[in-house]
Every structure is written in structure tokens, then in C-alpha cells.
């Protein structure tokens, strides 16, 4: 029983980490209807920039803070460049073309980031405690072992969702974002500047990528594989629904717990290594009942 709880908790926390990446996808899809495959590359780019700047600025008084600020500024520039060079020329293109364009962005960023910063593996240590914690020792035999890194990631993800929720619900820009998401043309006609909104939302997605990159980077070391984590976020995304911030979190929890439990309890019977596809199958299964994801919006087709 103790082990089951441990697997469950481990899975839930892994799921939260996926959610961190999935959040970036959701933000952009919500506001611009673009399925942004470059989110993984943005995670890598942000993390690489951050970790290499710390190294360069290590003689200054506050390398981490400075590096953070510069990285944030770079993400803003990136958002502006994407808006100017990709989204604006491609306005009114079908979704699939925009999706492919983001694949192009992903390739570009992968190459650009590694040209700029190198393709070695870089250790990112910003003082997140690593010692595993033993919880509930009195309840279960052997206790439940929890990685403290994962705990912190969970807290960060929770905070991020709260901040994003407030941003979307309470601020002027957030309301404009929701209006744009609802109907581009209507939003434009009441005077919401579309291009500005896009820059804002890509910036926010870039910041989410930075957070995800820092958390994942301090876990794995910063290198190319970070950009492949996007693939783990996709089932979370279709399960939760492309438009829902909450869905990204709930979806992450379900996927994380589902894949770990399946790997531990089902895997040994079929040879193991099933968690990758199991996540997708799980999401597919849910989709058969709710084709727009758990929290996605239902679109009614009119002829």
C-alpha cells in the first residue's frame, strides 16, 4: 500500500512537471488558435540562455538575478520577433500552416540556441534542495519517499496557475486576451490591438517556458533533450483540452499518475517501457468520450 501511494505521488508530481510545459501550449492556443509546437524548443532556449548567462555573469554581484532579467528580456524580444516574422505575415492562414510554421520556429530555436550557447550539458544549480523526504513513515511501512525537487516544482506550478488565472480573469490585458480568443474579428472591431495581444501572449508563454526550463533543467541538466519534453506534454494537452489552463493541470495529474501506475503494475507483464505510449492511449481513450478534451470548449459546426 505504501508503495502504491509512493508511485501515485511520484506520478502526480511527474504530471505536474508535464503540465508546466503544457501550460505554454494552452496559453498560445487560447489566444491565437496556434498549436505551438515550438514550446519545447522555447523551454530549451530559455533554459540554455539562463544557465549560460549565469556562467558569464558569475563575477557580478547577483548572477542569477541578472541572468534571469536578461533571459526575460530575450523572451520578450523572441515574442516580438515571432509576431513580426511569423504570425503577421501568416495571418488568416489555416491552422495546419501555422502549426508547421511553429515547427519551423522549433527547428530554428534548437539550432540558434545551440549555436549561441553550445550543445554540451550544463549543470543548473539555483539552490533547489535535492535531498529526498520521507513522509508518512508512521502510516505505511517503509514510508513514502518524495523528491523535494518535485515538491518544489509542484508548488511552482500551482503558483503559476494561480497567477495565470488572476492574469486572465482580473487584468485588462487578460480580458482582452479572452476576447481575442473568443473572436478575433469582434475583438479587433472593438479596438483591441491584435498584434500587441499576440506579443503579450507569446511573452507569457516564453516566461512559462523559462520556468519549466529552470525546473526541468535543474532536474536533468540543461541540454538538447529538454526540447523533447514537449512530446510528454502533448497527451496532457489533448486530455485537458487545448483551451483550458485548469485542464492542463488536471490532465497532467491524470497522465502522470496513469503512466507511472501502468508502468509499475502493467509494465512487467508486457516487458516494460510502456509509459510513453500509455499516456497517449489514455488520452485517446478519454477523447473518444469527450472529443474536445476534458475541459476544452465545445465548438458547434454550422453549415
Amino acid at each position: 500500500m505504501g508503495f502504491f501511494v509512493e508511485v501515485l505521488i511520484g506520478g502526480l508530481m511527474a504530471g505536474v512537471l508535464y503540465s508546466l510545459v503544457a501550460l505554454g501550449f494552452v496559453l498560445i492556443f487560447k489566444a491565437s488558435g496556434v498549436f505551438n509546437f515550438a514550446q519545447g524548443a522555447m523551454v530549451l532556449f530559455a533554459a540554455l540562455t539562463f544557465v549560460r548567462l549565469i556562467d558569464i555573469l558569475k563575477d557580478t554581484f547577483a548572477p542569477i538575478m541578472l541572468s534571469l532579467l536578461i533571459t526575460i528580456a530575450l523572451m520578450v524580444v523572441l515574442a516580438m520577433a515571432v509576431e513580426r516574422l511569423v504570425l503577421r505575415p501568416m495571418v488568416n492562414q489555416p491552422g495546419i500552416s501555422l502549426f508547421m510554421a511553429t515547427l519551423g520556429i522549433a527547428y530554428f530555436l534548437d539550432g540558434f540556441g545551440q549555436t549561441l550557447w553550445g550543445s554540451d550539458i550544463y549543470t543548473l544549480d539555483i539552490g533547489i534542495p535535492k535531498e529526498p523526504l520521507m513522509l508518512l513513515e508512521t502510516v505505511f511501512e517503509g514510508g513514502v519517499l518524495v523528491a523535494s525537487e518535485d515538491l518544489i516544482a509542484t508548488v511552482v506550478a500551482g503558483l503559476l496557475v494561480v497567477v495565470l488565472a488572476i492574469f486572465f480573469q482580473r487584468t485588462r490585458v487578460g480580458r482582452a486576451l479572452r476576447a481575442v480568443a473568443d473572436d478575433h474579428q469582434a475583438a479587433q472591431s472593438i479596438g483591441i490591438p491584435l498584434n500587441y495581444i499576440w506579443v503579450v501572449v507569446w511573452t507569457v508563454a516564453g516566461l512559462v517556458a523559462l520556468v519549466a526550463g529552470i525546473i526541468w533543467g535543474s532536474k536533468l541538466g540543461v541540454q538538447f533533450s529538454l526540447s523533447l519534453i514537449a512530446l510528454k506534454a502533448l497527451p496532457v494537452l489533448i486530455l485537458g483540452g487545448f483551451e483550458s489552463v485548469l485542464g492542463a493541470i488536471i490532465g497532467g495529474l491524470i497522465i502522470g499518475a496513469g503512466e507511472k501506475l501502468s508502468e509499475i503494475y502493467l509494465g512487467p507483464y508486457v516487458g516494460g517501457g510502456i509509459e510513453y505510449w500509455f499516456a497517449y492511449m489514455l488520452a485517446l481513450f478519454f477523447l473518444l468520450f469527450r472529443p474536445q478534451g476534458l475541459f476544452g470548449e465545445v465548438h458547434i459546426d454550422r453549415v
Binding site: 556562467d55 554540451d120 550539458i121 535535492k130 541538466g221 541540454q223
Partner: protein, 466 residues
């Protein structure tokens, strides 16, 4: 879309690229990592024939990008630096210059095949010998090299059964196959437990990269587990291995006495971190020689202390004569491929050793066919009849890094001994004596596997007598 927009788009895209290149220059100017060094001062020579045509072309398949870049870069730098050294110090092999060209495979099979096709015909006599640096690419090239008559040296990787030269005349898994590595590891943990017979009832778990590379040791470990009565659990990790929580929860539940790690790239450091997260003692973890280099342990920080791996004879270190020569002739001349500080890392040394062996087999082939550019077929003779004596090792400045090797038609591996080294937080330290893999165990397996291959492929076994 109007034409003005079209042109604007074009201009902006070009701008994007130009800005990209410009910023790259800035980046390389300010930081000091090995990679930026690579981009600033490497001269990867695209192959250009010399006027007199007196040269031996060595193709270099490497990967400096993608998920496995941190490991691939070290191997490639060592390999290329040694070739440069031979040219700068000795003016080639007996006056025949060594030329080379690098091709990026990204550790992908199809790119590796394309590189092979691109490079195999270069040079006056075609490519000398291929070192694919990837088990997957080795599998794909095994047949092609047979048709093209170019030998394949797979130092410490590739097909384990390919040491049988009567079925695989063109494959040379020199200095150790995965079966050798697994056998040495089993013997080592046997020694730790106080004898191989003490392994009875113990549990060993293999955490492996889910690819041909990771699966190679399984048959040997199964056989050993039958022999000694330990139980073997195999836990696959999906490429590239960034998410291993489930695997290590399984380890935590099973509590194996030893964990063997068969990982590559980012998978290794992640394994060590996850092991720490489930409090599995690193002292009981043993990696293959591809899981025992600096990029595998440093990202995990102090969590890596106590972790061991089998070595491909050599460990880290830059105090040999050969390193001094590399500093003197290559780095001081500004021709180094990587960062000076990283000369002598484990994977660097492996690449360097690999290149040294390539050069020596060329020398050996020249002793029979004359001091001129040789064909792949002639080089093959040079490899199959290759012997590296202690005296030669000393002369090459490789003392202590490699033990004598002797190849023959029936044994394309040459030697089966290895040591274990352990990470102490700063450097690798040897933690065992030389251990020789038991040929009584491996040889019958090689024969069976090679025969199966020959049957499937309709190959008649060549006789090793002639």
C-alpha cells in the same frame, strides 16, 4: 498576399538569419565552453585531395548535436586531434599523409548511412576504415561494408557476435564487446560479494537504453544468471531517457543487490539522480563503459559520488606522453578541436585511442603492401593480423591506457580485459584490478549467434585456417 508583403517577408527572414549568425559571433567571443571553442578555432577540413595523392583517407562519423552531443563531442575531438597529431608530428604514416573529413550523424541511423555513402569514395583509395560510433549505424553498415570491402572498427560497441571473423570478416569490435563488458561486471560484483558462487539468490537489475545498444548484454546476463543462480530483472528506459521515475520506483521496490546501467547520453546522469531520489546506493550501481564518463556524472553533482563503471581499459587522465604531444603539436598550434582543459577526459581518451589504433593498423597494413595509400581490403588484412605489443604501446606514449592486443581471424576483439573505475566527486579512480572476461562463457554464445546470422543471411563460414 501581395508582392510587397512577399518581398518584405523574404527580407525579414533573411534578416532573421543574419541576426542569428551575428549573435553567434558575439556568443563565441564571450564564453569559454568547449563548444564555442569548437566553433571558433576548429578547422574541420572538408576533404580536398593533395596534389601528389599520397594520402590515406579516414572518414569520421561523429555527432556533435542532438540529445547525445555532450558525449559524442568528446569522442570526436579525441579522434580528430590524434589524426592531426600524426600529421603534424610524424608527417603521416611512413610519409603517407592522413586526411579526414567529419560527417555529422546525429546518432541517427539514416544520417549515418548517408554519411557513409558520402565519404566512402573519397581519397585516392577510398575510405580506409569506418568507425560508426553508434551501435545502430554499425548494424546498418555491416552489410554495406561487406559489399564495398571497407572494414568497420567498432571499439567497445556494435554486435557482440561480430568478433567471429569467419562470419563477419569486415567487423572488428576491438578491445571489448558488450558481452565482455557484462561479463566483467558480473565477475566484479561476484568479487565484491566474495566469489561468483556467492551470487546465488542475489538480485541484479539491468536498467538499459531501449535500443539495440541497451539490449546487447541481456543474453549474456541471462546465461550468467542461470550459471550462478542470481535473479535478473531488466528495466527498459525509453529514448532519450529523460523520464525514469517509474524505472527507479521499480528498483526501489525490488531492492536489487546491484544495478547495472546500460545508458547513453542524458539517460546516465538522469539515472544517477533518480537513484539518489529513491535512495538507492550509488556504490551498488555499475555502468557500462558508455555510462562512465564526465558528462554522465557531473550533471548529477554530489549524487554521483561512489558510482562506478567498467572501463574500456583506459580512464581519464592527460599525463601520458601522447597528451603532451597533442598539447605541443595540436593545441599550441591552435588546431585543437575542443577545449584544452577537456583533453584527457574519458571519452576524449577513447576517441584518441580509437584513432591511434586506426593509425597503427594502417602502419601494419603498410608493412605488407608497401608505404603507399592502401585500399580497404588491404587495411582489412592489417587489422586482422594486428598486434599491439607493450613496446609499441610505450612508443606511442599510451602506457597504462591500453594493454597488449592481438587479433586473429577467429578473434576480432583482440583482448577481453577491463578495470572498474569509480567517481569520487572530482575524478575517476580505478577501483579494481584487471578482470578478464571468461571466454568459456562468451565463445559458445558468439558461435551460436554468428551461426544463426550466417544461416539467416546465407553466408558460408570462411575458413580461418588459410
Amino acid at each position: 498576399m501581395g508582392y510587397s508583403k512577399l518581398i518584405k517577408g523574404l527580407l525579414l527572414s533573411m534578416l532573421l538569419v543574419i541576426v542569428g549568425c551575428g549573435q553567434k559571433e558575439e556568443g563565441t567571443g564571450t564564453d569559454t565552453s568547449s563548444d564555442s571553442q569548437t566553433s571558433s578555432n576548429t578547422n574541420n577540413q572538408a576533404y580536398a585531395p593533395t596534389p601528389d595523392g599520397n594520402e590515406q583517407f579516414v572518414p569520421v562519423l561523429s555527432y556533435r548535436t542532438g540529445p547525445y552531443a555532450p558525449n559524442g563531442t568528446g569522442v570526436a575531438n579525441g579522434f580528430v586531434d590524434y589524426l592531426k597529431l600524426v600529421d603534424a608530428r610524424d608527417g603521416g604514416v611512413n610519409g603517407v599523409r592522413i586526411s579526414f573529413e567529419e560527417c555529422e550523424t546525429e546518432y541517427k541511423t539514416d544520417r549515418g548511412v548517408e554519411c557513409y555513402e558520402r565519404l566512402k569514395g573519397l581519397g585516392p583509395t577510398g575510405a580506409t576504415v569506418f568507425n560508426p560510433n553508434s551501435t545502430g549505424v554499425t548494424f546498418a553498415l555491416t552489410e554495406k561494408t561487406t559489399t564495398d570491402k571497407i572494414p568497420l572498427i567498432t571499439m567497445g560497441y556494435g554486435r557482440s557476435e561480430s568478433r567471429d571473423g569467419s562470419v563477419f570478416p569486415w567487423n572488428f569490435p576491438m578491445m571489448g564487446t558488450y558481452w565482455t563488458a557484462a561479463d566483467v561486471l558480473v565477475q566484479h560484483v561476484g568479487n565484491l560479494s566474495g566469489g561468483l558462487d556467492k551470487l546465488k539468490g542475489k538480485k541484479i537489475a539491468l536498467v538499459y537504453h531501449d535500443s539495440p545498444f541497451g539490449k546487447e548484454p541481456i543474453p549474456l546476463l541471462q546465461k550468467r544468471s542461470e550459471m550462478h543462480g542470481f535473479s535478473l530483472t531488466t528495466i527498459p528506459v525509453t529514448h532519450p531517457g529523460v523520464e525514469q521515475k517509474a524505472a527507479w520506483l521499480q528498483v526501489r521496490q525490488d531492492k536489487p543487490d546491484y544495478v547495472f546501467l546500460w545508458g547513453w547520453g542524458v539517460m546516465n546522469s538522469t539515472s544517477i539522480k533518480e537513484a539518489a531520489a529513491v535512495r538507492y546506493p550509488r556504490e551498488q550501481m555499475f555502468g557500462v563503459w558508455w555510462s562512465g564518463a564526465e558528462p554522465d556524472v557531473t550533471p548529477a553533482g554530489d549524487d554521483s559520488i561512489g558510482y562506478s563503471s567498467v572501463t574500456l581499459q583506459h580512464s581519464a587522465g592527460s599525463d601520458n606522453q601522447v597528451h603532451k604531444d597533442i598539447f605541443k603539436y595540436v593545441y599550441d598550434a591552435g588546431a585543437g578541436s575542443g577545449d584544452r582543459d577537456r583533453v584527457g577526459e574519458v571519452l576524449y581518451n577513447r576517441g584518441m585511442l580509437n584513432a591511434a589504433i586506426v593509425v597503427e593498423v594502417i602502419r601494419n597494413a603498410q608493412s605488407k603492401y608497401g608505404q603507399k595509400p592502401l585500399t580497404g581490403e588491404q587495411i582489412r588484412w592489417g587489422i586482422e593480423n594486428f598486434e599491439l605489443t607493450q613496446a609499441q604501446i610505450d612508443k606511442l606514449g599510451l602506457t597504462g591506457m591500453v594493454q597488449p592486443i592481438k587479433l586473429s581471424c577467429s578473434d576480432h576483439e583482440g583482448t577481453r580485459i577491463a578495470r572498474i573505475h569509480t567517481w569520487n566527486g572530482k575524478t575517476w579512480e580505478y577501483s579494481s584490478d584487471w578482470i578478464e572476461a571468461s571466454d568459456a562463457v562468451i565463445k559458445p554464445m558468439v558461435e551460436t549467434a554468428a551461426s544463426n546470422y550466417a544461416k539467416e543471411k546465407n553466408i558460408t563460414r570462411a575458413s580461418c585456417e588459410s
